[in-house]
């Protein structure tokens, strides 16, 4: 039995007599963050958070602690919360015991990395950056998630993850690349640094373009960010039920180009696999968009109960820190296409722009699926089907129905993009997406140039 599950069962005993659920979220991790090719912000964390949910006559109280000697107090605080809550008529009860799919997500080599290894692997990336200074981090960690409940549910998983994130930059030039996986062997920090440096070398002397609608190639880094921000309102059940989702009234309708198929699939071992969600419900693959047709959003138990009509959780209850946002996709899997390379996508665009990465997105109109943000670290003009001169960072303001509405092509091999910004408790998750060529990407302004 794992340390996390031990703790979960001990906390459940402290709440004996109540309908209760315990979640333990533990991490032991290291982040070797570097800037200017120097590690400047290292962070080593060892922690386990114990969250208790107590239900008394449909009234729910939550409490959490990281004090293993504070479990009786934890039960008291959660119980006080339940006593003061109002009964929730839509509460479906705590999750029942379940059989979980067997997915591999733990790698001994990754788990064995210590502070010296994390520092060394950051150094490997730095040394490979060539003429550029390197900014970013190497991180690895072990995350344990365990659930125990008065329904008899017992769930336990250990996850590993490793991520090399590289911005190669000097004054007036910058490029980006990253590699992420749950197995260290699949992450090559030096290769990420070399890709970032090669990109940066092409960004010197960036010019401006006039605002307007452009055809564009979007690298997987950019595609993943667009999906992340679109999902907050549009691809989770809370936004859907609260009528903020672009999918409201459109399920079953064609919303995007028929080349676009997007699922959420945490069972895919080429993603960051997980057998269950934060309520202990088994994970399901959910088809969000199939051949351009809106099919569904993701659900947890509470939202499914609110929706009624036999709706059930798809295994997408969020971690504590995101509970406010409801269930969200955390394992995008977007189908690839026929293009063999990014160059082929540029040929499909002919005249347009090339975007490596996006920065600081925001939702302007959730119901309309309209996002804004900036490009950065590798924006170029495409002329005559070739990637041409570098551009300054561009402001875009785009309805997703435009970006995905006329897709000229997608690369055949989706890549795994890290989606974990390392806020709150460590929760490795990623998006497996291809690059794509779109006919419409609305540029509404220009900003700073590449480089630091």
């Amino acid at each position: 039995m794992s340390r996390a599950l031990d703790l979960a069962e001990e906390a459940l005993r402290a709440a004996e007599g109540d309908e209760a659920e315990v979640l333990v979220h533990a991490e032991r991790s290291g982040v070797a963050r570097f800037a200017g090719s120097v590690v400047h912000q290292p962070t080593l964390i060892d922690n386990a958070v114990i969250r208790l949910r107590i239900v008394r006559d449909g009234r729910i109280g939550w409490a959490s602690t990281n004090r293993v000697d504070g479990l009786a107090d934890l039960a008291r605080r959660a119980g006080e919360g339940a006593d003061q809550a109002r009964a929730d008529p839509d509460f479906p009860g705590l999750a029942p015991p379940a059989e979980y799919p067997d997915v591999a997500a733990f790698d001994d080599e990754t788990a064995s990395l210590g502070p010296e290894d994390q520092a060394r692997l950051a150094g490997v990336a730095i040394d490979a950056a060539g003429d550029f200074e390197l900014y970013g981090y190497f991180t690895s960690g072990v995350t344990e998630i365990a659930l125990a409940s008065s329904t008899g549910l017992v769930a336990d998983q250990a996850l590993t993850d490793a991520n090399a994130l590289c911005l190669a930059a000097v004054d007036g030039a910058s490029g980006w690349a990253e590699q992420t996986h749950w197995r260290l062997a699949e992450v090559d920090p030096a290769a990420a640094a070399r890709e970032a440096s090669a990109k940066a070398a092409r960004t010197r002397g960036a010019g401006k373009i006039e605002p307007g609608h452009y055809a564009a190639v979007l690298e997987p880094y950019a595609v993943a960010e667009l999906l992340r921000w679109f999902s907050y309102d549009s691809l989770g059940a809370q936004g859907f039920l609260e009528e903020r989702s672009y999918f409201c009234g459109r399920i079953g309708e064609r919303v995007f180009d028929e080349k676009v198929s997007i699922a959420d699939d945490a069972l895919d071992e080429t993603n960051m696999p997980k057998p269950f969600d934060f309520e202990g419900t088994p994970k399901q693959r959910v088809e969000l968009v199939e051949d351009g047709v809106a099919r569904d959003v993701v659900w947890d138990r509470g939202m499914a109960a609110k929706a009624g009509n036999g709706r059930v959780s798809t295994g997408h209850a969020s971690p504590d820190a995101w509970r406010f946002y409801g269930p969200l996709p955390t394992a995008f899997s977007m189908a690839g296409g026929n293009a063999g390379s990014l160059d082929e996508l540029a040929e499909l665009v002919g005249d347009g722009i090339y975007v490596t990465r996006l920065h600081y997105l925001s939702v302007i109109d959730p119901r309309g699926g309209v996002l804004t943000g900036m490009t950065r670290d590798g924006t170029f003009r495409i002329r005559d089907g070739k990637v041409a001169e570098p551009l300054v960072n561009l402001r875009f303001t785009v309805p997703m129905a435009d970006v995905l509405g006329e897709v000229r092509g997608l690369t055949s091999e989706p890549l795994l993009m890290n989606m974990n910004e390392l806020y709150d408790d460590r929760f490795p998750h990623a998006a497996r997406v291809p690059a794509l060529a779109t006919s419409r990407f609305h540029i509404t302004g220009t900003g700073s140039g590449p480089g630091i």
């Binding site: 400047h40 962070t43 109280g61």
Partner: protein, 477 residues
């Protein structure tokens, strides 16, 4: 806790660190959220641990352990030191000198927010929600929160500091929807309401329940409002939108660690350079920005920052010219000015970073009505809805929840989906009026993100309504 921090510092020095500091922290947070007249979240979280930061041959190490015992303190110190010894790169860190500091500080308050019965908090939220209920309002939400952070800082430079900081806050939202249009209206601000350092009396003073009917009615009215037109015009920003402009286009770019590039891979850098200090024209002569870690009720208020530097009030922009940066001891030493004072960490498990404390647009003169009177044709923009700015903090685009036309000095028809965009120094250069001290308001935000691993800082900003000329509005997809 002080003894644990001392043990950690001793262990780090014993393992070869030339400098060490340790923060032993206990943190408690309570949230009450009601949605559509149901209790949506009633949670009480606590966390304790120790964070140890060390310098070995100029290289930083940091480790956090989620326990408060001597073994954890020593283990954190040794892990941090081991990392620093292994850290690659050319390390040349030096710290601005500081006199040994000791002292204690506790947030002044009348009513401890954790002594307020949960039932009272739930009742307040439900009462506020009731006030927003209208047929077109699909979702009502009310939230109150409380936080206590009790921490000891000990450093090898002689710091021995205890601080006990209390926060509380709240806010309400109404989401209205009809057909293809969905609109939100919030009070006192978007982004989980507003908070302050202080007692429950602050939340009581927000009057969430009495403001609720207006919030619900405006959410519904927005459904039939005209869309904000596109073009260049004069805009007047409400105080809670002006503070977002201060936060994004003055606060972040003046963080000196960003200027030196250490945030480049994530949040970005800055259009400013160290040489701009005292020289760069940031905006018009009407622009005066101060950083003030002593502001009453400010979320960035303390006696000492997380490096042990005493709280300060200093000019960042004076009459439109850049006069200061937000600094740490390390960045202050590098630029040769200041002594730090802006280092803050998100709990025990994160390394302190240069963060805003309380950053204000200083008031000008006159009333809101007088500010409007000098606008023949323009827009009044209220309450942030969307925000985005480039990695050097130049090109920005904001959306607001609600707007009104200004015609011949008076507010006219309501408009929805208002956006405006600009480039930082050009925009601030177009500032030609800030209302006076009577119109100045303080807002505390709890979601300022920075760092890898990510940290959320709690910061406050004050502003009065501010007028900008010739601004691009109405950006659409």
């Amino acid at each position: 806790m002080k003894a644990l921090a001392e043990a950690a510092v001793d262990a780090a020095l014993g393992a070869g660190a030339s400098y060490a500091d340790a923060r032993a922290v206990t943190l408690r947070r309570q949230h009450v959220v009601t949605k559509n007249l149901q209790v949506d979240d009633l949670s009480d979280s606590e966390s304790e641990g120790i964070g140890v930061r060390v310098l070995v041959d100029g290289a930083w190490g940091f480790a956090g352990e989620g326990r408060l015992d001597e073994a954890a303190a020593r283990e954190a110190a040794l892990r941090a030191t081991a990392f620093a010894k292994a850290a690659p790169g050319r390390h040349e860190t030096s710290l601005a000198p500081i006199d040994p500091q000791s002292g204690d500080y506790r947030t002044p308050l009348e009513r401890d927010p954790f002594d307020v019965p949960l039932s009272e908090k739930v009742d307040l939220c439900l009462r506020a929600e009731e006030g927003m209920r209208l047929p077109e309002v699909k979702v009502t939400l009310a939230m109150v929160r409380a936080q206590r952070e009790h921490k000891f800082l000990v450093s090898s430079d002689g710091a021995a500091i205890e601080q006990d900081l209390f926060e509380c806050g709240g806010g309400i939202d109404a989401y209205a929807s009809a057909g293809e249009i969905s609109q939100i209206r919030s009070y006192p601000s978007q982004h989980a309401g507003v908070s302050a350092q202080g007692g429950w009396e602050y939340v009581e003073g927000l009057n969430l329940d009495t403001e609720a009917p207006r919030v619900g009615e405006q959410a519904v009215a927005l459904l039939s409002a005209d869309e904000c037109p596109s073009g260049r015009t004069t805009i007047v920003l409400s105080p809670e939108q002006a503070i977002m402009q201060v936060h994004e286009s003055v606060g972040h770019p003046t963080e000196l660690d960003r200027v030196y590039g250490t945030e480049a891979a994530y949040a970005g850098t800055s259009f400013l350079s160290p040489d701009d200090l005292g020289n760069l024209r940031y905006g018009s002569p009407k622009m005066n920005i101060v950083s003030d870690a002593t502001t009453p009720l400010g979320l960035g208020t303390f006696a000492f920052d997380d490096e042990g530097v005493p709280a300060q009030r200093e000019a960042i922009v004076k009459e439109g010219v850049l006069r200061g940066f937000l600094t740490s001891r390390e960045t202050a030493a590098r630029i040769g000015a200041g002594a730090g004072g802006s280092m803050r960490a998100d709990g025990w498990s994160r390394m302190p970073l240069v963060r805003m404390t309380n950053l204000h647009l200083e008031p000008g003169e006159g009333s809101f009505e007088e500010l409007l009177a000098d606008v023949d044709d323009g827009l009044y923009l209220e309450t942030n809805k969307s925000w985005s700015i480039d990695d050097k903090r130049l090109n920005f685009q904001f959306g607001t929840q609600i707007a009104w036309e200004i015609k011949k000095g008076k507010l006219g028809r309501m408009l929805r989906d208002a956006t405006y965009t600009g480039v930082t120094p050009v925009f601030w250069g177009s500032l030609d009026g800030v209302a006076g001290a009577d119109e100045w308001q303080l807002f505390g935000l709890t979601n300022c993100g920075k760092g890898q691993p990510g940290q959320e800082a709690h910061v406050s900003h004050g502003a009065a309504p501010a007028r900008f000329r010739d601004v691009q509005v109405g950006v659409s997809g």
